[in-house]
């Protein structure tokens, strides 16, 4: 029975974690390029340096001594996000979306004081959320206000789009929608919905929550089949650029759609997960191999997008 299952997965071109690690991450991602993407502050600066849009940085707290600058930094802000520079897998992100004087509120309505925020930042600095407990720095960013169009596919939080980029070619994409189960986070393990997207059009292929295929958002009740991401080629191009400025061969790039500024790069991941295959119902390997077998040349980002648009379309699902 196991042999059968294995054969089925292999025929469908599903990529396993071992193969991802051995054949793609360790082969195409040079160790020296990891620090850039493992540190969100560095990623943000590198992206901004080549004029790629990123959420606006309000300030950085680098040491406990700088904690006293916090009230001044937050003074004019009605809403903001605090995140650790080295948090892995979206760990340690604090969202404040409303403020009344000295009272700050999380999207869930929970109240925070200045003291609580200060303690939260000091926890980040001591490395609670970073890999191996290394000392870290805290980033304070403006809160991205999500695009209206995608808002209905999300509960409380902000949906983001994960695009797998191989050698600069966007090969697979999904939309991650927060639910009440996931507590407003776009974390698939906690019950956020993963919606596989047609890489050529930005339309939904299927939606999966907790390994179950669903058709409507569990909180908002909106049908996923009508979903279409606006400005899709623009997003693909942004993803393609991620390869150029990070020099990573195999990466996952997370993009959010801001109401006013359009697509913004949230972060780049050098070890993107494989859930995207479940959300799309497609295996990654055939596409990766197609790219591997392409003519070796200096592909311009527009050429790469054109290639993807013309080669990776999925037969329209029912």
């Amino acid at each position: 029975m196991w042999i059968n299952r294995q054969k089925k997965l292999r025929n469908a071109g599903v990529l396993g974690l071992n193969e991802r690690n051995v054949s793609y991450i360790s082969r195409y991602n040079k160790r020296e390029n990891f620090p850039l993407v493992d540190n969100k502050l560095k990623t943000k600066k590198a992206a901004a340096a080549v004029n790629l849009p990123v959420p606006e940085l309000l300030g950085v707290i680098e040491s406990p001594a700088q904690l006293k600058r916090l009230p001044a930094l937050l003074n004019d802000q009605q809403s903001f996000v605090i995140k650790p520079a080295r948090g892995s897998g979206g760990k340690g992100i604090l969202v404040v979306n409303r403020r009344e004087g000295e009272h700050f509120f999380k999207p869930s309505g929970a109240l925070l004081t200045h003291g609580a925020i200060r303690h939260y930042v000091s926890n980040i600095l001591s490395g609670v959320y970073s890999l191996g407990g290394k000392p870290d720095v805290a980033l304070i960013e403006t809160l991205v206000i999500g695009d209206q169009l995608l808002g209905k596919y999300s509960h409380e939080g902000l949906p983001d789009i994960r695009i797998i980029v191989f050698k600069g070619f966007p090969v697979m994409a999904m939309l991650r929608c927060p639910t009440s189960d996931s507590d407003g986070k776009a974390n698939l393990h906690q019950g956020a919905v993963g919606v596989g997207l047609d890489i050529t059009r930005g339309t939904a292929l299927k939606a999966v929550q907790n390994d179950e295929i669903i058709s409507h958002h569990p909180d908002t009740g909106v049908k996923f089949s009508d979903l279409a991401i606006p400005d899709w080629p623009q997003l693909l191009k942004l993803a393609g650029h991620c390869h150029d400025f990070t020099a990573l061969g195999y990466l996952g790039c997370d993009i959010v759609l801001d109401k006013d500024r359009g697509p913004l790069i949230l972060e780049v991941n050098a070890r993107p997960g494989l859930f995207i295959q479940i959300a799309s119902g497609i295996g990654l390997r055939p596409r990766l191999q197609t790219i591997e077998n392409l003519v070796q040349k200096d592909w311009h980002v527009d050429e790469r997008i054109d290639y993807v648009l013309s080669h990776f379309s999925v037969n329209p699902s029912k």
Binding site: L9, V14, G16, H189, Q190, L274, I278
Partner: protein, 508 residues
Amino acid sequence: MSSRAQVYLLALVFISTGLGLTLYKNRALSFPLSPGSLTRVWEIEAKISFWANQQAITVDLALPQSQHDYQVIDETFASSGYGFDIRKNDEQRRAIWTRREAGGQQTLYYKLKITQQGTEALQIEPPNPSTAPDKLIWTPAQEATAATLIEQARALSADPNSFATQLLKLLKQHESIKGSHSLNDPRNRVSQANLALQLFKRAELASHIVRGISLVDRVHNQAATELIEVFDGRSWHIVDPVAASFGLPEAFFIWQRGGDSLLQLEGGRRSKIRFSLIANDLPAKNVALMHVQDPDSTLTDFNIYSLPVEKQAVFKLLLLVPIGALVVVLFRVLIGIRTSGTFMPVLIAMAFMQTTLLTGVGLLTALVIVGLWIRSYLSQLDLLMVSRIAAVLIVVVMLMAVFSVVSHKLGLEQMLNMTFFPMVILAWTIERLSITWEEDGAREVAVQGIGSLTVAIVAYLAMTNALVGHLTYNFPELLLAVLGIILLLGQYSGYRLNELFRFQSAVE
């Protein structure tokens, strides 16, 4: 050469070297591949340490002899800068180390190998009564107390044996009462056995001291155990002066019967003798050869056996660590079990080896659950992380102390070994699990916790397996083969077992 080819080549070299050497040792040196048909050989190392006074030094150590059920098959002495001689009189052999002048800390070693020879009863030939110790000088009050104890014991007993038992019990009772007139001089204390001998001498019961060691594998720095032999008119009987029970304890090697002291030192002070033990299961054939052959032959030359016993015991454990690592790699790469901390399960498995499995699992679960509970309270206190982890660490240590005391009172001795749990790593694990709880929910904590425990248990089972222990210790070159396998697994790009289920919905 591509990296993949290098890995295959290296793995091939490692595996074939490992297996080849193993095969050679098996064929040419007749090391058996299975632990069966082996003779247990105990290596006992006596470490004598003392502080030399910058003058002529004589160290005089009583040596054991082949006796009833144990046979001495080899002995070695290590003592750089010392003259050495063995003196024999009819009763005993004694090793004498001498040196004109030395100062500072000195260490001498005496190492012997013994093997069990059937289970004959203890040979009882009455040793010379003159080996009894001299009388200690007691105050009149102490003499009176002794006389009372002897009188009471005599009234409560029927023959020399029961007299000895009663006297030992009375002595123990007497000495345990604080403030009573102790028979022991507080400035120059002697052991319970010596005290008992003094009483026996005053009661004119022929008796002498018996010193020996309990044969327990992988024990360091054990002190000699003192027993007493009493003569009931026909034969000698061994009695434990503390437990007041007759009979030779299980697995007990007698070092010295009678005689005034185990170790005598002139020209130094603070002398101390400590024993380290290790059990080796050697092929019966080789043990037989060792009786006639020089011990430093091919068999022992390129072997862990040539290390000092203390280090051998450490290596016996260390050589099992790669097996634990292999289990971890297999579980993560082939099965895909998530654990909290990559090699934490190996450390836990090593702790289990000291506590036994069931107690270990129980203790660990209790420690982690209580630790998580306390951590959840600490997180409300807004502490800095380092302080918080240190606080959890202290709580873990205190919990261990409490568990130890409680279990000791309940008579669960193996729980006392819980100090082998890696405390700092435990505190970190608690911190990580608690963050995982906050960020990913209780389910993820359960998955990682159970995953870690499963891997630890399997690693424990592999590491305590008699065959595995035998192979890693007698054929350390097999580690090369393990290394080769791990290199190969590092290149494995097939599906993990859990992925066969996880990705099922992707293909349907």
